[in-house]
Symmetry: C2
Subunit: 407 residues, 2 copies
């Protein structure tokens, strides 16, 4: 008799963003005349840049002719893209990553969820808190993290690395034994960063304890200030303890094209098991590569004119971030992030929970954000706003938020 | 201390098709002047049809403009595609599948490998044998199927549903308890099919034993004869015991575009756990949908002119299949399949193993196929040839194969 995977019954039915979508639906049905501005889900709004569009058209034409048609590609990605990534994202900044350590995928979400297949089922996991819910949910569905404690809003066996204003969003090193550590910098959802020295402490801890770090660098392209690491491999010894995941989604507006990559260094070996070989085996067995035409678009990101056009889009979003942050400061709100990331992390007014704040903003000024507690217990009392809307909508949203605060 | 997933050490390093690729590489280096014809990997050779190319260009242009740009899409696929699939592949042939039972993905390989997350870790699995290696390897990497027995070429806890000439490629129903049954018809690698009555026996067995059937219908579009089910849902009660996986890869040449889908009926419930809801949760958590432009191409497959153009390509490949089968029969070889599938399943000469035959064909006539034993123990003594090459190469390959047999 077939037994279903009972880990699915351990987890609530709806994913954070589905819950938000439902709340918006309900509100819209009751208030069809109200125009909502969404600074919730971190989706881009600017279309693909001309250099990418051109590369896509060209790749489509290649698929129309027998001589240039491409069927199954290498599961880890075409060499032209793996080499472009290794060269431009690593070698050009003095890091020695090689193309066989780069694995192209259909996005950072899939990679973050699938990389857990590389470690043992009973691994002790530590995660930055608050954090992107996929890290937690994907582990629960596999049978990790213990039991859900509704009162604490915590999983019993997950080690939460608390980040909040009190510790300046720099979580303390774990005091217990942990096998795997999930870190994300620039951080989603707080928009905060670590310095290279601060990140080095995590690398040193992992090396000393033989832990693995899964480093999510999906927002690396938004770093504006010097001294903030773009890659964990800038830290000494990281190639012996860390996997890095990156995305084209936020960097180049590929949320609808689906492209990302993971770097799994050849030096990453635990008890004679080499993670580079294991990930190659995993991807070869369970994945068939990203589409050729999408990989060509990824390749074009590193060439002119797309390269400059992409930088202009990032500047556009970062100006939105600045406007939101300054606008909220003007009315006395406490805000974090937004300087090296497209996220603003807002402290909710005293006594107002994250979800209460969500409801109030929706009801009073029709602005949608994401409740901080949706990202974990340390997010309670915070709220995430994204810089990914258009300039016009961002301006309007700032006015509305200021109105909320002045009432 | 990080512990790697030790299931990775239970499985041989190289995937079947990688081993073949290495053998070809070695041969080519030693014989750079010899031209090899590949009837091995089941990859298409005809370019995408004009109707698909047009749809791709149009979708790319939509991504260039703010008004029509699409970022994150629904994880289970856009409604326009889910509805086209439900309508054309099911409702039009009298099956009541609804679009919310259709989940669009980046290909049948990913789905077949990922669907196992829906059932318990200690499930007893039965699989058609020979079979597409991904079914086995993906389960082993998760910790199922017991130990590998080198002598028998079998996994100790996998129930092999033997298919060979002696039982007319119709495996017997299991005599032991099984929880999950993997079936593939038209079959890869044998190219053989079941009648509707034969398939109904499997559905009846599954219903009686509360087993789940994973039905791989990736080659459905190649069925030429009447009376052969295109979908398992043609069988009475299948919506209560079966998931069906289909692909655009072989049907429409999407091996490089990456698009497939799984049908998970709402009626599919085991011990109060609903598999439709579970799969929705799985895909929402660990996947971000197929690219918008690729889904538009999938949609175009159901519209003219692409629909007719795709049928013409299938006829082209099926004529190749006929030529290979007839050509081999002429020289007295024993051949199966090829009538309703793009695969010809060839009995190797007496006393010649699958891999020996591979080596002989490569050495003597430079034709590459796939050793049957690579698909499982019942494949020993057989050899798979595909109809996916060009007409010219297929003609040349037939001549060379005939030469091999006449020497």
């Amino acid at each position: 008799m077939m037994q279903a995977n009972h880990n699915y019954s351990r987890i609530s039915d709806s994913y954070l963003f589905s819950t938000i979508a439902q709340k918006i639906d309900t509100y819209t049905q009751l208030n069809p005349d109200k125009e909502i501005i969404r600074l919730g889900i971190g989706d881009v709004t600017q279309p693909l840049v001309p250099g990418i569009i051109q590369a896509l058209h060209q790749a489509v034409d290649e698929q129309a002719s027998t001589d240039t048609f491409r069927g199954y590609g290498p599961e880890g990605g075409y060499d032209f893209l793996r080499e472009a990534i290794a060269q431009h994202d690593y070698q050009e900044v003095g890091l020695s990553m090689d193309s066989s350590e780069v694995f192209v995928s259909d996005g950072a979400k899939s990679d973050i969820a699938n990389l857990q297949e590389l470690f043992a089922l009973d691994s002790i996991i530590a995660m930055g808190d608050p954090i992107y819910p996929v890290y937690i949910d994907s582990n629960v569905l596999t049978g990790r993290l213990g039991e859900w404690n509704e009162e604490l809003g915590q999983w019993s066996e997950l080690v939460y690395l608390e980040s909040h204003a009190e510790n300046h969003f720099r979580p303390a090193l774990p005091t217990e034994k942990v096998d795997v550590i999930y870190l994300c910098y620039p951080n989603n959802p707080t928009g905060m960063t670590l310095t290279k020295d601060e990140l080095q402490q995590w690398v040193d801890f992992a090396l000393e304890n033989e832990s693995l770090i899964l480093f999510d660098a999906a927002y690396e392209a938004y770093i504006q200030e010097d001294g903030i690491p773009h890659s964990i491999y800038e830290c000494e010894g990281a190639e012996r303890c860390a996997i890095e995941v990156r995305s084209f989604s936020k960097k180049a507006g590929f949320t609808g094209l689906r492209l990302g990559y993971s770097v799994v260094p050849k030096a990453l070996t635990f008890q004679n098991m080499n993670l580079n070989q294991m990930w190659h085996r995993r991807q070869s067995t369970k994945f068939n590569g990203a589409p050729y035409i999408i990989q060509r678009a990824g390749w074009a990101c590193y060439q002119e004119p797309a390269r400059t056009q992409i930088e202009e889009n990032i500047s556009y979003y970062m100006e939105n971030a600045r406007m939101i942050k300054e606008g909220l400061k003007e009315v006395g709100a406490t805000v974090y992030g937004g300087d090296n990331a497209p996220y603003i992390w807002l402290k909710t007014p005293v006594g107002v929970s994250s979800w209460e704040f969500f409801d109030q903003l929706l009801e009073k000024v029709q602005v949608v954000g994401t409740p901080g507690v949706g990202f974990g217990p340390s997010g309670e009392g915070y709220f995430r706003l994204t810089a990914f809307n258009t300039r016009d909508n961002t301006e309007k949203a700032v006015e509305r938020l200021q109105k909320y605060y002045s009432e």
